[in-house]
Amino acid sequence: MKKLATLVVAGAMAATPALADLVIPDLSYRTGPFAAGGIPFSDGYQDYFTLLNERDGGIGGVPVRVIECETAYNTERGVECYESTKGEGALVYQPLSTGITYQLIPRATADGIPLHTMGYGRTSAANGDVFSHVFNYPANYWDAASVIVNQLLEENDGDMSGQTIALLYHNSAYGREPIRTLETLSEMHGFNLSLIAVDSPGQEQGNQWLQIRRERPDYVVMWGWGVMNQVAIQEAINIRFPMENFIGNWWAGADHDVAQAGADAAGYRALNMNRLGDMPVFAEIQQHVIDAGLAAGDGTNLGAVLYTRGMYAAMLAAEAIRVAQEIHGVADITPAMMRDGMEALEMTNARMEELGMPGIGPEFAVSCEDHGGTGMAIMTQWNGSEWVTLTDFVAPDDSVTQPLVLEDSAQFAAENNITPQCTSS
């Protein structure tokens, strides 16, 4: 009996969360149909925090404890992960799925834990006045649609009238996100918009590409994810569509998307919310994390497109922690303080350079009203063997996206009885 009591006490002590930890859950997906995208992102996300722990002793002297929870990109499992980890003192969640994000917005807001939905999730969450605990900086889907059109306008001397853009989209809430923005832009700039849906998961697209072959649009813009991307790229090659006129969004421009097609996919372009290429921070990760045997994966993803994005997301979270520590004068911050840090975050070129990631993202400042950043993105291109950066950060047309954000968030506020947090105070 005494032994049993000792075991129970020891077990309870072991289960108690360690004090003075900065807890960051990682809702990853290393299994399931979208694992190829989830693995490098999670590797980058975790490795950056490990770097901070190993090299700097954490953030502000407090170590970061990453809790990985496998969602398999499944919304129910994502919510289970949230519920099972929030009690650990989670500071911020990166749900890495639009479906999970939609489920977590009311829960996290009620629990006072911020969400960072970087380039996915509910686009109108950029309006911090309504979405007090959701942040989607540095860019959102509507920004992406606008940036692509702005880039095409630039290439067509500002005139796209009479041209046709076909939007090939995943037939889901995610895939339909850019439609309204593109419809508004098509009216504004006089181009025709053809909408072509692909059923999930996107393994079969023969009919859609026959339609593209018949209609011969000037450009195909793709809102895809998972297997849809690889199949679409192969089908485009099959029908001999000019690859430089085929443009994916930032979830359709990773290394694995073009790996099967290889050199045949040369010319295919994709948007990215962060810069690619070698950065000093990679050498640091190699030395302190991978060579030390502490990497989240096998280390082979270092520098890959989605690894870099995961690392960028981790860096933004770490910087918000620093800001929160400065604002509140404590190192071991709470989720409420983390929210304050995210809302006061300012990313400058000088700071990014200092962190070993020069120019990885655009400069931006978050505020109470603006949780969305500048919305700028770069255009990248697959040259047959690697992704190369084609442009500097291109700005979206805020005059188009901002009214849509305000309208959608106002509707959400009315439906959910939300009092604006900034304009009412």
């Binding site: 190829a36 693995i39 023969g206 009919n207 026959l210 199949v231 790996a259």
Partner: protein, 328 residues
């Protein structure tokens, strides 16, 4: 000829070839159901596992490398050799035969005489087990598959149709390859079941288990044989589908395309799987072409099921299925 008609002809031709791809998946289901009455939920995952194994062998990957490295602190991923495509295919067939034996030895041998729903549930468990094993063995990243199959527009058909109609039809070389392979596979299966001793034993078991047992046919042996053939069909389907998208988890979902084909063609008929596949392929392609644009597109998945359900109303056993006769 009007453009609409030409396009409809092109869509029909592509639909027929898509149907062959569906039939390839359905074949594996039919083989097992016909011989053992088991609806094998794991058939799609078998396609994924077979294709992953093929690529793993081709690339000289060490199976279970992550597990080995995690346990022993090693850092091995490759053997350092590459295996030619044909040899890798043969080795993969060997792996699928071992898999068939294991399934029979460790699962279905213990479930003889159980209700069909129990057997079905066992295959659901098998699907999840195999999915996890595949991940552990080869990882869950996308693997490039190249067994030398040609892809892209067929220039001969393009030119011939252009000369005939003034519009060149798009037909994918990969789909033509799939049609040839499917024809060879079906011809081989038919010849095997009609003209070999093992094939006749399979047919005997399919007709009546008890009677087959009474004349000395070993049920276990026949079922291992059938699961091996289903493994071969899964490998072929995995190669054809994986050549386009790379080998990845979503290959396991292609089984969903086989269900309407089976409902339509019948669960017990190899020709039914082929004809069912062709009808579904053409039906969904023409529907997407003609009605799809009016209702937002992406109709292929649900329309295949609607088409199968309509057939079910008139022929519950499917086009070629055995008629259900219940004596009172």
């Amino acid at each position: 000829m009007p453009d609409q008609l030409l396009w409809a002809m092109e869509v029909t031709a592509n639909g027929l070839l898509n149907g062959v791809m569906y039939a390839l998946v359905a074949l594996g289901f039919v083989l097992i159901f016909k011989a053992s009455g088991i609806f094998n939920y794991a058939q799609g995952v078998m396609a994924l596992f077979a294709a992953m194994t093929l690529v793993g062998i081709q690339d000289g990957r060490v199976p279970f490398a992550h597990l080995i490295n995690a346990i022993f602190g090693t850092d091995i991923h490759y053997f350092g050799w590459e295996v030619p495509a044909l040899a890798a295919i043969l080795l993969t067939v060997g792996v699928m035969v071992v898999f068939a034996w294991a399934v029979q030895r460790f699962i279905f041998k213990h479930l003889v005489g159980q209700e069909p729903i129990i057997l079905f549930m066992a295959t659901i468990g098998l699907a999840y087990f195999l999915e996890g094993t595949s991940d552990l063995m080869w990882g869950s990243e996308i693997r490039n598959l190249d067994v030398g199959l040609p892809q892209g527009i067929n220039p001969v058909i393009d030119e011939a149709t252009f000369n005939l109609f003034g519009y060149g039809f798009f037909i994918d070389n990969l789909d033509i390859s799939a049609a040839i392979v499917a024809t060879l596979l079906v011809a081989g299966l038919v010849a095997y079941t009609q003209y070999t001793k093992q094939g006749r034993a399979m047919r005997a078991v399919a007709d009546d288990h008890q009677a087959a047992l009474s004349v000395g046919i070993k049920l276990n042996y026949v079922w291992v044989l059938v699961w091996s053939l289903a493994g071969l069909a899964a490998l072929v389907a995995g190669i054809m589908w994986g050549s386009k998208s790379g080998v990845q988890f979503s290959l396991s979902l292609i089984a969903l395309k086989a269900l309407p084909v089976l409902m339509l063609g019948g669960f017990t008929s190899i020709p039914g799987a082929i004809v069912g596949g062709l009808i579904i392929g053409v039906g969904e392609a023409l529907f997407e072409f003609s009605i799809g644009p009016l209702i937002g597109g992406a109709t292929e998945n649900w329309f295949a099921y609607v088409l199968a359900l309509v057939f079910l109303i008139f022929r519950p056993q499917g086009l070629f299925g055995e008629k259900i006769i219940e004596r009172v």
